[in-house]
């Protein structure tokens, strides 16, 4: 029987001490080899020697699993026999259609709601003296994990039948005005929007922070000049601020789209996909660990990957162009 603590300690030693030593030795060895080849060739080879370890690492922990997953996505549940594209056909049929539909709702509602609210908050905060306080309040939820946030919101959305005391904050509030309680997590459409709202609450801070710093970089002379020319605040926002912060808006949008694609924690904790709220990532978890169907889970993973890749690339290029500018 192995001792878990012993393994953890060994891993820490290996990670903190062993790996740096190994990297140092490998690079040293590479340099020694480079001295043995002609100087010109050595110069050409040097970058590759230094890149060898990171490339090998990326290949091992990123590319290899992707290739394996591509393979298992064309095999049956236990990876015993080849089934071609059956798992992909399954991923776009039957109950999966509703799940994909939910993800589309997430993909549209979550980034747009976050972006609009963050733009609103960042623009208004820029105009007040107590901006640090306002920003702190908006950013606080970012410190909470999605899982913990979901547990908190489970209490907020708690529903008891009409006529019984309401312990959920929202329904207790509605009760003050004699309005019947709403089953926030059960009623179709309302439940998906209720879940999306939690994600917005958790991500609004970081989006506001990014946009706020972008707004502060917009030249004040330009804004002053527009105001002197008689432009209204709306006009200043749409004609000067927004075009200038567009790269940051794109970064926020793409980051939120990726978050919407891989949303899992909130749905898993609050409804586990029941009541018509299931999403692709939760279904992946279910297929892999509950249904033990590696084929289905791999197909979902591949679809998720290829949907997220273009958006991730846009995000990366955007970051680069911003860094350059």
């Amino acid at each position: 029987m192995t001792d878990f603590l012993g393994i953890v300690l060994a891993l820490i030693v290996l990670g903190a001490i062993g790996i740096p030593i190994l990297v140092y030795l490998a690079l040293g060895l590479g340099e020694v080899i480079l001295t043995l080849v002609p100087a010109k060739a050595g110069q050409k080879l040097r970058p590759w020697v230094w890149l060898l370890l990171p490339v090998a690492l990326a290949a091992t922990i990123l590319i290899f699993p992707v290739i394996v997953t591509l393979g298992t996505s064309m095999m049956d549940a236990r990876s015993a026999s080849f089934v071609g594209l059956d798992n992909y056909a399954w991923a776009f049929s039957g109950s999966m259609l509703g799940i994909v539909g939910n993800n589309i709702v997430w993909l549209i509602a979550f980034p747009i709601a976050t972006l609009v609210l963050a733009l609103f908050a960042a623009t208004l905060f820029d105009k007040v003296r107590y901006e640090p306080l306002a920003m702190t309040i908006v950013i606080l939820p970012t410190a909470i994990s999605f899982t913990a946030g979901s547990v908190i919101w489970t209490q907020m959305y708690s529903f008891q039948p009409a006529g019984t005391p309401q312990i959920g904050t929202f329904n207790a509030f509605l009760g003050l005005f004699g309005i019947n309680p709403v089953p926030w997590l059960i009623q179709p459409v309302v439940n998906n929007l209720s879940l999306i709202f939690i994600a917005v609450w958790l991500q609004l801070g970081i989006a506001t922070l990014i946009l706020s710093s972008a707004i502060k970089n917009v030249g004040s002379e330009m804004i002053e000049a527009a105001r002197l020319d008689g432009a209204s605040e709306w006009r200043v926002f749409f004609s000067i601020i927004l075009p200038n912060i567009l790269p940051s808006v794109l970064v926020v949008l793409t980051t939120m789209i990726i978050a919407a694609l891989k949303v899992f924690d909130i749905v898993y904790v609050m409804t586990n996909g029941n009541f018509g709220t299931d999403v692709i990532a939760n279904k992946l978890y279910y297929e892999l660990f509950a249904a033990n169907n590696l084929g289905h889970a791999s197909a979902i993973a591949v679809i998720l990957l290829f949907t997220a890749l273009p958006i991730a690339f846009i995000n990366i290029f955007q970051f680069r162009s911003e860094a350059r500018s």
């Binding site: 039948p161 586990n272 029941n274 892999l288 509950a290 249904a291 033990n292």
Partner: protein, 436 residues
């Protein structure tokens, strides 16, 4: 009555109460000592030390009860028991198996355990302590816990199902054998504006499982143990008329807005942890509930046995099947073929360990040699007397035999059916698809 007489009575009561408490404590200690002695006997000659990692479904107070029983094993053998209780056990155990790092022991659903046994992942216990198993468990239990002639796990608890009611508030027929009498009474009460059922379904990842167990009961009591077993084994389709009828009967009798406390949406949203207290509140907000032996424990101290909580056997649609009952229990299986794991499993299956577990007053235990007076609660004693040593024939069906995928789909199917009763055919076809 004079003050002196009152003082004398008080002193007498105090003395009697102290004596009774002392006697109960002595009895508890005796049960624990016997468990420790049994663990010492089992582990004789074993190397002392190390640990056994156990993952189970019970956490909180129920998990603590199990750990109390496991502590006796540790005391006798020096083998530490590292217990984790989680509702997400299926995913955790599966991921640990996939990672090649399963726990030593897991307390999982029987259907999942059977799948693992089929894959050859579980330790064969027949060879290790088959004699003990034959002496301690009934033939049906051993049969369900066997694959290819080998026993792969042991039961600790064993919860039968019954109709719970509050004797103070209940206006229906007491202990009827005919399901129709409950149906008629439910309808009559609904017409008077009284929703009589408590049937909360919100159990996080497992939402819908209480409803699934009601459907199982309805099915068994209508179609009998053979069809029930066929259903569980995947030989009777989920889309069959019989299964469809059981779902519809559940919908007709229990899951109507006018029949269940809070209406259907209320039942879906109410957590199981608080959804059954309505039976004993004053005034009671519901009158009956068809669920497992754990209901009084779930309600907590406000449930006073015999006073505001009691039970009767689940009535049958077909009188021939009144004597057939289903039960709920996880099964403890071993993943690592080592002496400590086998000693631990032998210990938890033993009569002294299960007698000690019974004395901790949580749920009925599976070992048939545990005396019913080991349970402090009169309700548990009554359950043990009526179900475990009576004329009851236990049956195993989907509730026990479903694999992980079908079980999850069944629970989700119950939730979907409650929301969209008109979609039943599609829901059943969806569950059937998981069996292929």
């Amino acid at each position: 009555m004079t003050l002196k007489m009152l003082a004398g009575r008080a002193a007498y009561s105090a003395a009697l109460s102290t004596l009774l408490t002392a006697s109960v404590l002595a009895q508890d200690t005796a049960y624990r000592d016997a468990a420790v002695a049994e663990a010492a006997r089992i582990a004789e000659g074993l190397e002392v030390g190390g640990y056994v990692e156990v993952i189970g479904q019970n956490s909180g107070a129920e998990g603590q009860t199990l750990q109390d029983v496991y502590a006796a094993f540790t005391e006798a053998t020096g083998i530490e028991v590292r217990y984790t209780g989680t509702q997400d056990i299926t995913a955790i155990v599966q991921s640990r198996i996939q990672a090649g790092n399963p726990p030593n022991v897991a307390d999982i659903q029987l259907g999942e355990a059977r799948d693992l046994a089929e894959e050859g992942l579980l330790v064969d216990l027949s060879g290790a302590f088959g004699g003990d198993l034959n002496a301690n468990f009934g033939a049906m239990l051993l049969e369900t816990a066997s694959y290819d002639g080998k026993v792969f796990g042991v039961y600790q608890g064993m919860n039968p199902f019954m109709v719970w009611y509050n004797p103070k508030a209940y206006t229906g027929p007491v202990a009827p054998q005919d399901w129709q009498s409950i149906v008629d009474w439910t309808n009559a009460e609904a017409e008077n504006g009284n929703a009589v059922w408590c049937a909360a379904q919100n159990a996080g990842a497992g939402s819908g499982f209480p409803g699934a167990q009601i459907v199982d009961n309805i099915f068994l009591k209508k179609f009998g143990p053979e069809l029930y077993a066929q259903w569980g084994a995947g030989e009777l389709s989920w889309t069959s008329e019989e299964v469809k009828w059981a779902f519809e009967e559940f919908g007709r009798v229990v899951m109507q807005d006018s029949h269940v406390q809070g209406g259907v949406i209320g039942a879906l949203s109410t957590p199981i942890s608080s959804g059954y207290t309505g039976l004993v509140t004053d005034p009671a907000t519901c009158q009956i509930s068809l669920w497992g032996a754990w209901v009084p424990g779930l309600i907590g101290e406000t449930a006073v046995p015999g006073e505001n909580i009691d039970f009767f056997r689940v009535p049958a649609s077909d009188p021939a099947f009144y004597g057939n009952e289903l039960f709920q229990s996880a099964i403890s299986v071993g993943f690592t073929d080592d002496a400590a794991t086998k000693a631990f499993l032998q210990y938890i299956a033993s009569t002294p360990a299960q007698t000690y577990l019974a004395s901790l007053n949580r749920w009925p235990v599976a070992n048939q040699n545990v005396p019913s007076d080991a349970y402090p609660s009169p309700l548990l004693q009554k359950i043990a007397a009526e179900y475990l040593s009576g004329d009851v024939e236990f049956a195993a069906g989907p509730n026990l035999l479903n694999g992980a995928a079908t079980g999850s789909a069944y629970y989700k199917g119950i939730v979907s059916y409650m929301q969209n009763p008109g979609d039943l055919d599609n829901i059943l076809a969806g569950i059937e698809a998981t069996t292929e």
